[in-house]
């Protein structure tokens, strides 16, 4: 066997084999890089989301929800919640020069959280909210409410776990349907346009 070096064919085969291995390697690195970027934003937002959910749901549970008022515009979602103890709180989803932020104000404190976004962010649907009266308080002892504000931080990786969803199950004597905007019966209702 000639040991002076590789022939051109051997060289091409070697390069081809190494290339195949490298393709897998780059694919792997690409996945990991994407995951790392995505996870940084996701983690940051999920921590904020968890805090906001806890703030709002704590008020729902401690003060007991009795109604809500929609003060949303075409650009923002602004909801006033009314509680049995007579207090109110306001949840707002806004956009300013710095970015998208969420504001929650109750009788004791007001806080603002900016959401982390990256250059792939295509849609944060702060102009859409829908709520659903799950059970009919006119026939049952309970009523349930599910209030959803979709947040799609990446169109290519739409993850509804980013959504803000507030749920509530209360006693029927605690609620008056008139306290819910434009609603007189069971069903799903949009606040602004949910595209």
């Amino acid at each position: 066997m000639n040991k002076k070096g590789m022939t051109l064919v051997e060289l091409i085969i070697s390069i081809a084999l190494i290339s195949i291995v490298l393709i897998f390697l780059f694919s792997l690195l690409s996945d990991v890089k994407y995951m790392n970027t995505n996870r940084n934003f996701a983690l940051s937002n999920q921590q904020k989301r968890a805090i906001i959910l806890k703030r709002v749901q704590s008020d729902f549970i401690d003060r007991r929800l009795s109604g809500l008022t929609d003060r949303s515009s075409s650009d923002n979602i602004v909801i006033d919640f009314r509680f049995l103890d007579g207090t109110t709180s306001t949840l707002g989803f806004y956009k300013d020069g710095t970015g998208y932020y969420i504001n929650y104000k109750n009788s004791t404190q007001e806080e603002k959280w900016y959401l982390s976004v990256d250059n792939t962010t295509t849609k944060i649907a702060f102009n859409c909210a829908k709520y659903m009266l799950i059970t009919d308080p006119t026939i049952s002892n309970y009523f349930a409410l599910k209030f959803t504000i979709p947040v799609i931080a990446k169109s290519s990786d739409a993850n509804f776990i980013d959504d803000f969803e507030f749920t509530y199950v209360g006693l029927k004597e605690e609620v008056n349907l008139a306290n819910f905007p434009n609603k007189s019966s069971l069903g799903t209702y949009n606040i602004n346009t949910c595209g």
Binding site: M132, D163, V169
Partner: protein, 190 residues
């Protein structure tokens, strides 16, 4: 014999070793990525609050009747129940209707009542005896159970499995469902 560089056979060997090494790295990273994405589906706050409210509703019902079937010594350690379980709601069809509405709108696919301490399931290496319960649930649910704490605590636990499409709507095609899990401790008395 004067070798001035790699010969073809040596190159093939190097590539083969490199490939094996990279395959090992790829498989471990893939598992890491999958586990990482799966963990996002455990105990998300939205599902935790859904679980809390269902628990609040069920606390007024006869969960003790469902719990009667639970028995560590007879290997019945996990009870899959639903709103129409006999005796769960005492009074009226209305309560069953409320429960079913909430289960539907909260996208709950399975409700399990079990013990607070799940270490007997978490330590399973086979599917016999008490571990037979793992045969009754999906692999995703089994993985979730392994993440639940509460070792040494008495009482009961409610575990919910939620099935949704990627857009958050209720899932009708089981092959496309994404499953989410949350649990809540019910304490000693039901």
């Amino acid at each position: 014999m004067a070798k001035k560089g790699f010969v073809f056979v040596e190159t093939i060997i190097v590539v083969a070793i490199l490939t094996i090494a990279l395959l090992m790295i790829y498989s471990s990273y893939s598992a890491f990525v999958i586990n990482s994405n799966t963990r996002l589906k455990y105990d998300d706050p939205v599902f935790m609050y859904r679980t809390y409210y269902l628990q609040k509703l069920l606390k007024n019902s006869r969960l003790d009747l469902v719990a009667m079937n639970l028995n560590l010594s007879t290997n019945q350690v996990l009870e899959n129940f639903n709103c129409s379980n006999s005796g769960l709601f005492i009074n009226s069809a209305d309560d069953i209707g409320i429960c079913e509405n909430i289960v539907s709108e909260f996208h709950i696919s399975n409700m399990y009542l079990t013990f607070n301490d799940l270490s007997f399931l978490q330590e399973c290496t086979s599917s016999t005896g008490k571990c037979n319960a793992l045969n009754l649930i999906g692999s995703d649910m089994a993985s979730y159970i392994k993440t639940i704490g509460g070792k040494g605590k008495s009482g009961y636990r409610l575990i919910l499995e939620f099935a949704e499409n990627s857009d958050g709507s209720i899932c009708s095609d089981v092959n496309k469902c994404q499953y989410y899990y949350a649990n809540i401790s019910l304490g000693d008395t039901l």
